[in-house]
């Protein structure tokens, strides 16, 4: 870098600029004071979800689901109008607390809803606990959120990592697999998933012979496929999602492993990725708390409504967003929209029985859904329900002192 030559600038000019920027910031700071509506009658809902980056599609689906329920309820929850405050969290944990503060401190929302990425959700939980803001998680599965971090004001309408993987344990054992190899990214969600699977699978009598991990978000799987082929386990359990999931399934198929070693995974492997997998994805068995081809009336109504509103088929993320709104509606109706009656509101939410498109569910003591887990089979672009493998499965909420 020989051509590199810093510009020498006079200090005065810099100060001019700093002053301008600072003044601009000061003006911005004063704006919200002028705008602040004194309890205008609307309930302020803060949506903090990823709208840019890798998880943008998920963030949009959650948002759509949430808004769909509110629309169906005439734009009101608990009899009061809704005002949305939206923040793009970029799936960046480094900005998680700051972005949450935008909603909690700047916009002073009544309810905080978010997010997809577990690391970001951890940051949100921190702020929500400190400010005692009502917080509903519509996706992030980190066990901690309804474990050690559980709190009266934190709810989840999606799943815990433990739930979606634990249910797969007995399934794999019943398919006469005794020796299993697991593979996932080396990060918290991956570890929680494979640990929960191993827990259930070994309880059933099987053995996890090797736990393999690769650095997140690396997608070069070939060395692991070679190892799997050499180890010749009875089955393979993986946790991947998004682009990495699509690539893994294709690589697994192309390596010829699908023919000899069955592949099992939590449903995130095949949600939103079947089209990208093409033939390689067909017939995959996964476990999740939602599936295509459910027969309950609620699901059919939900699907019709979603298709009409957004010209697209809903996915599990949309369901979770929809149910987040439902759960809030239950609580808010009980207090007639008066969010200041927090104790009653929380009590009503805890006692709620949510008529979800996934099938009705209740909440555990730690505020995580107690829900049925489906075994699904990939057919075409759908994850068709095969059976309910775990009826009303509750997360053990380890470390929760509530």
């Amino acid at each position: 870098m020989n051509s590199y030559s810093p510009k020498i600038t006079s200090p005065g000019s810099i100060w001019t600029r700093t002053a301008t920027v600072a003044t601009a910031l000061a003006c911005a700071a004063l704006l919200p004071l002028g705008n602040a509506q004194a309890q205008s009658g609307k309930i302020k809902i803060g949506l903090m979800l990823p709208y840019t980056g890798t998880y943008a599609a998920l963030g949009n689906a959650v948002t759509n689901g949430f808004k769909l329920y509110v629309e169906e309820s005439g734009g009101k929850l608990g009899g009061r109008d809704i005002e949305y405050f939206v923040v793009d969290d970029e799936s960046d944990p480094a900005k998680a607390t700051e972005n949450t503060n935008k909603l909690v401190k700047r916009d002073q929302v009544d309810v905080l809803v978010g997010t997809v990425h577990s690391g970001v959700a951890m940051g949100m939980a921190k702020v929500a606990r400190e400010n005692n803001t009502l917080f509903v998680v519509p996706n992030a599965g980190a066990d901690e959120l309804t474990g050690p971090l559980c709190a009266p004001n934190i709810f989840r309408t999606s799943f815990s990592n433990w739930q979606s993987a634990y249910a797969m344990g007995p399934v794999v054992y019943e398919k006469r697999a005794r020796k299993v190899v697991t593979l996932t990214w080396k990060y918290a969600a991956g570890k929680q998933m494979t640990d929960a699977f191993a827990e259930a699978f070994e309880k059933a009598g099987g053995k996890v012979v090797k736990e393999m991990t690769l650095p997140f978000p690396n997608v070069e799987f070939q060395p692991f496929l070679t190892e799997i082929a050499a180890l010749k386990p009875d089955a393979v359990f993986v946790f991947f999602a998004g682009g990495g999931a699509a690539k893994f399934v294709k690589d697994y198929g192309a390596a010829g492993l699908r023919a000899s070693i069955p592949l099992y995974a939590p449903g995130f492997l095949t949600d939103g990725t079947l089209e990208a997998m093409g033939d390689a994805g067909q017939g995959l068995l996964t476990t999740l708390h939602y599936a295509d081809g459910l027969t309950n009336a609620k699901d059919q109504a939900f699907r019709a409504g979603y298709a009409k509103a957004y010209k697209a088929a809903p996915d599990v993320y949309a369901v979770q967003g929809y149910d987040a709104a439902q759960l809030l509606a239950t609580g808010l109706s009980a207090v007639k929209g008066d969010v200041s009656k927090r104790a009653e509101l929380v009590k009503a939410m805890e006692a709620a029985r949510i008529d979800s498109p996934r099938g009705a569910f209740t909440l555990s003591k730690a505020h995580n859904p107690v829900q049925d887990i489906y075994l699904r089979k990939a057919e075409g672009k759908e994850n068709k329900v095969v059976s309910v493998v775990s009826k009303a499965l509750a997360d053990p909420a380890r470390g929760c002192k509530m």
Partner: protein
């Protein structure tokens, strides 16, 4: 620009940041505090990039390491002592920088950029892949550091205003210290190295030693920023060490204008302000952000701090650049 006008502007900026917590809302006070912390971070990098001519693409490592030191020194149910944890965090960040610098300063130019990145990525994976600091989901700092000295507490960092002013004092101290350092013998050596290292060698300067010292000092100051960031937000994640953060702080320095710490401060605030305004405006805010950055490079060479000087020139001159 006359000297008195310059002083007047400095005082005006100082008055603004001093008065801010009393007129701004809690959120914006915190945002300005964040700006001040990033300003410290950017100034520390400017010591390398602008003053010494060393472009580090791994500066977030020292920021993140110090934040982790705070997180690890904070017991689960009580606060860490400020007067112990801050120096330790800064010292550790400085020592890590010293160790990394020992290796990376053997390379030059683009190779230097990439080796600094390599070491930062290694630090990132150490915190992301091991349980050392809570793994990939991050770790909480449940309590803000306590400023107690033998039972006497001069100020309480749990009070947002106290924390704000503590950060402000740190930022001013770093600014003043770096300005002074730049004008010292040591500072003039660093600038000599930036402009012509072989000449410095020929004049008898063991430049490696000076660069190493600058690298360690910059790492330690980045540690000040990282520590304060961890204290302000109470949440430390491996992303603090990621190359995105290293890239962002480099952008702040380039955007503001290099070699003069005021430029780094302006760059940091401009960066924060841009993110804030654009994100509030539209879902596709990164498009605007990108376009503004592209525009800034094409029409604003030398960064924000070179703007007034450019405006004074004839328009034709700047148009054909």
């Amino acid at each position: 620009m006359s000297a008195s006008f310059n002083t007047f502007l400095k005082l005006l900026v100082l008055a603004l940041v001093l008065a801010f917590p009393f007129v701004g809302s809690a959120f914006y006070t915190e945002l300005v505090a964040k700006g001040l912390i990033l300003a410290i971070f950017a100034m520390s990098l400017d010591l390398l990039v602008g003053v010494t001519g060393l472009v580090s693409f791994g500066h977030a490592a020292y920021f993140g390491v110090a934040a982790y030191v705070l997180a690890l020194l904070t017991p689960k149910y009580q606060a860490a002592n400020l007067w112990l944890s801050l120096p330790v965090a800064v010292l550790v960040a400085g020592l890590v920088a010293l160790l990394v610098g020992f290796f990376v300063l053997r390379t030059r130019g683009i190779y230097f950029i990439m080796v600094t990145l390599a070491f930062a990525q290694m630090a990132y994976y150490i915190f992301h892949d091991t349980d050392l600091g809570g793994g990939s989901d991050g770790i909480y700092v449940n309590f803000k550091p306590s400023a107690a000295i033998a039972g006497w507490t001069p100020f309480d960092l749990d009070q947002p205003k106290a924390l704000y002013f503590f950060i402000l004092v740190c930022a001013l101290a770093v600014y003043g210290g770096l300005r002074r350092l730049k004008e010292s013998s040591f500072g003039s050596i660093l600038q000599g190295i930036r402009d012509n290292e072989s000449r410095m060698l020929a004049m008898g300067y063991a430049t490696y030693r000076y660069k190493l010292a600058a690298f360690a000092v910059a790492g330690a100051l980045a540690g000040v920023a990282g520590y304060l960031y961890g204290a302000l937000y109470g949440f430390v994640t491996p992303e603090y060490l990621s190359w995105h953060q290293s890239g962002n702080v480099l952008l702040m320095v380039i955007l503001g204008g290099m070699g003069n710490f005021g430029g780094a401060v302006a760059g940091a605030f401009a960066f924060v302000a841009m993110q804030e305004f654009f994100a509030a405006w539209t879902k596709h805010w990164q498009l605007l952000m990108g376009a503004v950055i592209v525009g800034a490079v094409l029409f604003l060479p030398g960064g924000i701090s070179a703007l007034p000087a450019r405006l004074k020139r004839k328009p034709r001159e700047s148009a054909d650049e």
